[in-house]
Symmetry: C2
Subunit: 331 residues, 2 copies
């Protein structure tokens, strides 16, 4: 199971280094720890762990919740994976130190390899950022590669080679998807630019992209009221909000929870009118192995939803960089 | 550690019976499985497990997500705790059968001991419902007693006796809290009856009451737009929605994540104006042991928030029983 000299080609070198240490350690639990969009991108990895892990359990927490909750099982058999683009998110920087003091192995994902987060973690995996960004180096792709890699070295998971190869083919998929969705994205922005509320709906690993679109793009960057509704929970309360006036953006992924998303869409079509559907079945996924399609689709959703947000920002004349509080006032 | 003939007095007899079986089994994982409000009431138990469990891991899923996600670790060393008031929630009824077929031990909480859910599970714990309801028999109190009981019989957790005794004293606390909050509740309803959006904010185990107030009371029963924002995540996106026009209901509990809720409140006070604060520090908690206060407070929040919802319904002339879809159309 050694990571080097294996049949798995094209592993990210930072991930390879981290996995060599993971392999040596006795790990029974993985904690995914980050805030906001960086936390959202870990949802597909939590889903992957739940589906694939034979014995390793996992939990996902917002960084400050992780610190204060102080899980009793956190210790020297824990692997803590953290993420922050700038590497300066105070709660995440602190969480790395907190976890290390408990004896956990820490791996930080960041765009800034010299940042405080990088310094606080034992291993650093650098990811790309706009504009010099190709799919395999996005934080989403890096997360999936790392998580599947952990299961490969610890439990012999057989999908690691497929995962790495698929992620190397992802840039083409991104570009085709963006091109295909461009007219739809533009129309969405024109249609909904004056809305005060836009909901999102998804399940499984796709809940991550829905959550980040809601929290980071709609609420943070556009000041539009929103809520990322879990497609299964929809029918146990939230669906009563549906009417012909309220827009819903509904994700249909390819993981095993797709029937939940389809059910939410079917119902919404009956009683709602302002529905935007992003269906992974419509995408050309050439190069992405069937065995990992469900895990990779959220990364494509993240990319497409960024385009939705950019178009909305333009139509609304409200740049994505506009803030009232973030980075501007004390909090 | 035998449940019978122990120093712990006043254990609910249904829970006692279930715990005797839990004690015999080799359990390494607890799954909390339910929908909507019944799922929300399990959040404090997930928090309790994270804080207290020495070795048993846990996960919480909406019932249909649980079935389709099909966690790889679900098996004969799993305990699956399910809940549905009527015992007829189709996804939860199916989840019980699904879990049993995987060899898991299943315990169902329900108000209807003859219901399909009760029939599908190996053990049934009945809970009370309005109007004949005392605190110790509420679903919230039953959940906490059961969860702490599991840790008592499996890991020798020392807080079980305190928990059971505290829950027997909870009715007095409920009544005092309701009386104390009555004027505040009325004022809230008058002030915010015409609002189209009301957010909730909480962390730790208190996220459960926030989530059910958002999903079941505001969105489902009042058709008011909402989102239960995690108090730690607030600063990584959602707080940008805060202005002087948008109401926020902020919970301040007594568990270890209280600093997150306090930070959210401090910030909201600076830039918001329509804030409703429910602070457990203001309550008379006589009879509730310090060792378990943080775990019990969400049950008190649930009770108080029901009063908030009732008052809002009255002021808005929109009864809590009003539905457009639930139980009325196919879904």
């Amino acid at each position: 199971m050694a990571v080097k000299n294996t049949e798995v080609k094209g592993i990210n070198p930072h991930i390879e280094l981290a996995l060599q240490e993971v392999e040596k350690r006795d790990i029974n639990k993985v904690f995914f720890v980050a805030c906001g969009g960086s936390s959202a991108l870990m949802y597909p990895s939590k889903y992957l762990m739940d589906r694939e892990a034979v014995a390793i359990s996992s939990d996902l927490y917002s960084s400050n919740e992780f610190i204060h909750r102080n899980p009793n099982t956190l210790g020297d058999k824990s692997l803590v994976i953290l993420c922050s683009m700038s590497g300066t998110t105070p709660e995440t920087v602190e969480a790395a130190e907190f976890a290390r003091n408990k004896g956990a192995l820490t791996i930080a994902l960041t765009h800034e390899p010299e940042s405080p987060l990088a310094q606080n973690a034992e291993f650093v995996v650098e990811y790309g950022w706009f504009p010099d960004l190709i799919a395999v180096n996005t934080n989403q792709a890096i997360m999936i590669q790392l998580t599947m890699g952990v299961l490969y070295v610890k439990e012999g998971n057989k999908k690691f080679a497929d995962t790495v190869e698929s992620l190397h083919n992802l840039e083409d998929v991104f570009q085709k998807a963006e091109k295909q969705f461009a007219p739809k994205v533009k129309e969405f922005a024109k249609k909904y630019k004056d809305e005060s509320n836009i909901y999102t709906l998804a399940s499984g690993g796709n809940y991550g992209p829905a959550y980040s679109f809601t929290s980071c793009f709609l609420m943070e960057m556009q000041w539009i009221h929103s809520n990322a509704i879990h497609a299964g929970e929809y029918f146990h309360g939230p669906f009563e909000i549906l009417d012909k006036e309220t827009p819903f953006l509904i994700l249909l992924g390819l993981d095993e929870t797709r029937p939940l998303e389809e059910r939410a869409l079917t119902f919404s079509k009956k009683y709602g009118e302002k529905l935007e559907v992003v269906d992974a079945k419509e995408l050309d996924l050439e190069g992405i192995s069937d065995s990992v399609k469900g895990y990779v689709v959220p990364a494509i959703f993240d990319r497409l939803l960024r385009r939705y947000a950019e178009a909305l920002a333009e139509e609304r004349n409200h740049p994505l960089s506009t803030r009232r509080y973030m980075w501007k006032v004390e909090y």
